[in-house]
Assembly symmetry: D2
Homo-oligomer: 317 residues x 4
């Protein structure tokens, strides 16, 4: 049996550029772009008109439109990268501590966690992310700094920083996350102190990066685990596939089904308005628009990705 | 932008045959094959040693091992085909009556249905399937006979029949389905009589077909909506993709996440022990082994599919 | 230790009459009286202005105001009397089939039933009442006729009948009850056929009696298990107390706490607008006003009972 | 209408003494006394053989058996006294912040709290107690000291203290309470800081008092709001009745129904093994035995109270 090969006709970089420009034009015509997250002031003041979209191909080519180099808050997008780190540290044993099933509930629900005795459904709901972060801070004394370093390495941008105002504000308004973390601790599911886990979690969420950084940082997921730029192996080919599978079934909060239905690619979103999408073997596509839909996903971002997979005629289905 | 093309090297039919034979040998070595469904006698008496696997490529080639022509009960696999029919009759308006999100709960749970006022999460949980069946019997006086005819047409096997003993037995033991249907009716979500919907539903579940029939019947889903054998257009290319997306996020009861993780392709299972998997643009793969795992999916079937995507080096991720 | 004695000063019958007349005057001034149940036409057409209140003392005296001899639909009030019958037939073993705890959920919720594997929380939610009715029809071939006979005997009114229009209408609109009964059957919690249980249940709910009938029928609960008029022992003193305890903790749907808080006596309500209250050792008080509050309890009825316990300075607390 | 009068034959103090001694003898014969709470070391080391029972009549007489002057941890019993304080401070407006209905769920469940947007079902589940404690610490700068002073005043024992080891241990192991408090704060239901509320809560739980102290401290609830010893009015007669009603419907965790059924009086329990029961107009009865049943109520304590109401032939039903 032949190994998987990708011998489709190369699409010229200029073509992706044209696709992105067409999408940006369509998005500009669309007045309604959801609501910016308001739970912390630092997010609430981002203009809804911001929009960026960047494609990073596995052959290294890149296309970009809009505010592609403007910084935004990573938020839940960080969960993809902490998962990769935790799998590197803990191996498949990690799956004893967190499940791999869609939750069917809001990302920050405590109900399911209670019915299931403190084992989070998957690494992308908040409870699961706390377990992942606990895994990292328990294995690695550098903790949150290591998370920042990983994002810097993957994006190739050493200037990426925590946004300390965001981190502080997350903590002040983070009572729901504190509730979840204390609940996990009560069920013996966290090894480190609750405060340490929350501190690392709020810092990873606060990482400020650009849409271009994001597209580059995710490139290994489209490329069998190998960073497109540096050729570093970030994770095994099998794990890269499996993380894509998790993004497909659990990556968009309570809208994974309709996103798969409309867009058809693995993706992960954050309440900062960013979404990272993967077409395995072909490219990563990052989009940023801070207005969110009712499910907490970037409203214009989801539409832009739907236009993208429709225009290029490619999805995983 | 180029349309999607599939110019991978043709894999010889004999190669798939060899892959399937290797898998069958591995399955034979495995003593534990889950538990046969026992809720009705007609299913409980099927020997657990039965095993079949059939590949149907989009170029028409076919490979098969084991009890590939032995009949088994379609059960929930019928939900894929009734969904195609209902979309043909009702169009996208169908999505006002049933959602497209994974449930995060057991396939026959009433809890979620109650919290969400009678709108089933997706067409593949039982409540959703009742809405789909209601749609068909409301549009089409022939009702259950039309469902049978569709399965006959898609499999190219006019000899396929309802198993009337199974249908009768499903009804006798079908109090949970009756509870769900009455609950939907109480919430105004069924147009036809409860008894008529249940009768059609129990009959569609009772359809007896072979693993070969199943692989052929699903071929349009791997082939952009066009039946591989007859070249009939069964559904639009867009709907075929979207049904694949639904299978990916909702097709394996409460194990969609781990199936995507391990196997990585859209699939739908039934408690008769059948699973239909799709590699878009390439092939359908059907497997049958009546022993079920704790989630109600064919135990050996899931393992066989995992071996299959691993050996051929192809998944959607 | 002395046995319980009731040597309080006798309150003259004329005093209760004056209390009731004062309450009726207050109720007449109150324009808002909730909403009449509309789920079946026979209930929806009852004028909201109807009001009756009857006191039956353990010494035999009686006081009444308003439409005290007009018939109304017993509905869930029947659950008190079927419970007495089922305890007589099945003894304390009945408590293996139904719990004794408040549900904390709406009276017809399926959620809790699912989480608790088909054992209803108490005999006064619909699921519990189906188990009780199943117990009766399983023990007694006369089934629903025996229930009618019991209500006739306890009220001393042989003219009491099923309202067959109501019974038919309950069945036609009874899909939620059918869902509950099928769910119980699916979990092996009903011995008789679902249809037989539902038929008896819908008939017991349809029994048409007057407020005076109701006050008399419940007199044994205030009188240590002995019918005040006939001196027949209806149940043991211990069971009478225990049924009062169940009414206190489970008798008013999702408002038991606030009813205990405001009124302070054991009581059971029905969606026909009737409420039966007990002051152990002293009297029963029945009230009827068809307009319901948000919890499904008679709006004016609850207020009338609150005035009553306040004016006579007696509650169980 | 005559005011409520209590002209039952006076029961001699010696009679209650005999009743209690009979019960103590029965309890001593019973080898199985449940399991001592183990979630903190200070509770886990209490011998299960401890037993005390004290009756305090509204006429001032007292009867006691067993370890009636040994100190134990008040735990949830404190919730009765903080409720009285909060009602004094906030009046009926308190009921906008906390409900009065039984929860139908475990005392520390977060599920219901989530479904009901952070309004606790009643003041006796942990979430409700946090709201009550928040009310006290928001109104009263002395906070936890005021709670201690109230318990001292009501029991007439100025030597009562916080058990600081217990308070510290509660905090260390109090992650579930921390989860609940952060959840309430996230929903805007706490006015004070989470840490301040938790600190006061853990201290109130740690108060160490004797069974005799407890019987005396609750005497006002049996006596229309007036302390039996000091004749101080602690609360209005109406509030005393209403607190009794709340104890009846919400005072014994998830066993209120069966306790009402078996024992038939308003009561409140704590995981330290204490139970306070009220027979309005007659007496308070306190019992202590540290072994708990599956619901978290004192195992021997519940049985002792059942024997007590049976032997004296008095309950509220």
């Amino acid at each position: 049996m032949a190994p998987r090969t990708h011998r489709r006709k190369k699409v010229a970089a200029s073509d992706y550029q044209a696709v992105l420009e067409g999408i940006a034009a369509r998005v500009r015509e669309q007045p309604n772009r959801g609501k910016v997250a308001t739970y912390i002031p630092a997010l609430a003041r981002i203009p809804k008109t911001k929009f960026a979209m960047v494609v990073k191909c596995v052959d290294g080519r890149e296309a970009a439109v809009g505010d592609a180099d403007e910084l935004f808050s990573m938020q839940s997008l960080s969960k993809v990268f902490t998962l990769v780190m935790a799998l590197r540290q803990a191996g498949a044993g990690l799956w004893h501590r967190v499940g791999r099933e869609p939750s069917g509930n809001r990302f920050n629900s405590l109900v399911q966690l209670e019915y299931e005795q403190g084992v989070p459904r998957n690494p992308f709901i908040n409870a699961g992310a706390h377990v992942i972060t606990d895994c990292i801070v328990s294995h690695d004394a550098a903790g949150k700094q290591s998370i920042l370093n990983e994002v810097r390495r993957l994006s190739g941008n050493a200037a990426i920083q925590f946004d300390l105002e965001v981190a502080r504000s997350e903590r002040e308004h983070g009572h729901l996350n504190a509730a979840i973390a204390h609940f996990l601790k009560a069920h013996g599911k966290l090894r480190s102190d609750v405060d340490e886990v929350l501190d690392a979690y709020f810092h990873q969420c606060s990482i400020a990066l650009s849409c271009r950084d994001l597209a580059r940082a995710g490139s290994f997921l489209a490329n069998g685990g190998i960073d497109v730029t540096t050729k570093d192996r970030i994770t095994t080919a099998r794990r890269a596939k499996r993380i894509n599978a998790l993004m497909m079934t659990c990556g968009l909060y309570d809208a994974v089904g309709s996103f798969a239905f409309r867009v058809g690619i693995p993706a992960k979103s954050g309440v900062g308005g960013g979404i990272l999408g993967i077409i395995p073997g072909l490219l990563t596509v990052a989009v940023w628009s801070p207005g969110l839909d009712a499910n907490g996903n970037s409203d214009a971002g989801v539409r832009a990705l739907e236009l993208f997979t429709t225009k290029i005629g490619r999805s995983v289905f």
